[in-house]
Amino acid sequence: MLGTLLSILILGAMISAVYALIAIGFTMIFGVGGVLNLAHGALIMLGAFAYLGLTSTGGMLSLPPLVGFVIAVAVSAAASYAMYAGLVQFIEENVVITFLATVVVALLATELVTFWFGTDPYQLVPLVAGSIHLETVGTRVRYMELLGFVISWIAIGLLWYYVTQTDEGRSILATSMSERGAQLTGVDLDFVKSRTWLIAGAFAGIAGVFLGSLLSTYPEMWLNPLAIAFIIVVIGGIGSIKGSVVAAYLIGYLETVTIQFLGSSFQGIFSLVVLVVVLLVLPQGLYGREFVHE
């Protein structure tokens, strides 16, 4: 029993770290621009496929994994920015249209990737191979999972430093609180939004490479992570980075426990039920803030 608990503790932490990366990007874009970016998942997929195309041993480039990783993250970030600059900024004043357009972009991206890579799954070359056998706990942890955990926290830490300790980063937080206030202090909204989409895209790209390596890489690989990101973001409080991190671990552990004790048939259902309950009891989520009226 103790072994089971420990193994849940470890496995949950690994997957939660990746969830957190996805949710943070999603929540930042909502916080800063008010855009619910349903194409966020597609960026995850894009990161994984970019890495696949760059590094696969049977492929044309077969770059070293680390180089591929860096480029894949850059590709996701660039795609995210392109989506803002090429589409969203022209329609963002209409929430419904933007919302629907991002869904369509996600589906479009999926079809394009399907066109090139087909629907069958791929496995990525791991950044680091091998694993540790934790005999007493009764589980094994791949180095790749550990690396994901570490990189997730490094990324979160850097982001935290950026948005709280630098003027440039703080202006992102400031914009999420008051767009007009930011403009009044000389902040260029376009610049802030561009950076936000870049960061969100990069985070999605990192998550994509890890999800693609730990799980597998196929055109519809984004659907579940996106659904999980929704749940996390709503539970954590939409727009709150801290909320995303906390809720990511909450949901990550919930899923792990569900699989362990109820079986995977119930995977997902539990999180969804928790989500509904949170929305009904605590509509603004754990760290969402209720703004003063007027």
């Binding site: 003063v292 009226h293 007027e294």
Partner: protein
């Protein structure tokens, strides 16, 4: 005879007390001015009466009935209507359609209810909009949009009309016309509460004024009394020497 009774109403937003234990009454047939500097809690008070906000404490009675916990549409159907400070017509509907919306019965099975064209014409005519019925709101000049707001409120056949800064953005000529319209309403038996931050234009129209300052009721009384009151002067002038 008391129509509206505000009894110790308090409204807090988080730590901010927007309306603090305010009481006053409005009699049938009166026009009452609710005045005070901007931010003194007038609009909040209206929002509490209309149940746009839940009050933090106190009771609101209308025609003897406790309407504190009613929902907005119930308040309206009870005979209260409000013209808000911001004009928010539905841009996709012409003036006539905007008025018609306010005459519809609150029934999901009523497919063809609501005012007839003739009745809608009458509502519009009472504020002088009868020739603009087919126009879309965003094609109207500002003063007409304000008139449309009044016509919409009128279309709910209210006993008591709450008017929130009805004269905002109008020139003196337009203000005089609208004030005359309100006088006509009074003759039709409609009771009115008018919010304005500016006492000047209002004092000829109102029978009585209630002054709010910083969420507190400062005083109430006939216009003359109010305008000469020292506390009111101080509230308005903010301690600045009167030049």
């Amino acid at each position: 005879m008391t129509l509206l009774e505000i009894d110790s109403v308090t409204k807090k937003f988080g730590g901010l007390v927007a309306v603090d234990d305010v009481s006053f009454t409005v009699d049938r047939g009166e026009i009452v001015g609710l005045i005070g500097p901007n931010g003194s809690g007038k609009s909040t008070m209206f929002n509490c009466i209309m149940s746009e906000y839940d009050v933090t404490g106190g009771t609101i009675r209308f025609g003897g009935e406790d309407i504190t916990d009613y929902r907005t549409h119930q308040v309206v159907n009870n005979g209260l209507s409000r013209v808000s400070q911001e004009s928010n017509p539905i841009d996709a509907l012409p003036v006539g359609g905007n008025i018609k919306l306010f005459t519809l019965p609150n029934s999901v099975v009523s497919l063809r209810g609501g005012a007839s064209e003739e009745e809608i014409y009458q509502y519009a005519a009472r504020v002088g909009l009868e020739s603009e019925l087919q126009e879309l709101p965003d094609e109207l000049p500002h003063a007409d949009v304000r008139r449309l707001e009044v016509a919409k409120a009128l279309a709910t056949e209210p006993e008591l009309l709450l008017l929130d800064e009805p004269f905002a953005g109008m020139n003196q000529q337009e203000i005089r016309e609208l004030a005359a319209t309100f006088e006509e309403f009074r003759e039709d038996g409609i009771t009115m509460v008018i919010v304005d931050h500016n006492m000047g234009g209002l004092m000829d129209l109102v029978d009585r004024a209630v002054v709010l300052d910083n969420g507190d009721k400062l005083m109430e009384g006939p216009p003359k009394e109010v305008t000469t009151d020292e506390r009111v002067r101080k509230a308005y002038l903010g301690g600045t020497e009167v030049p």
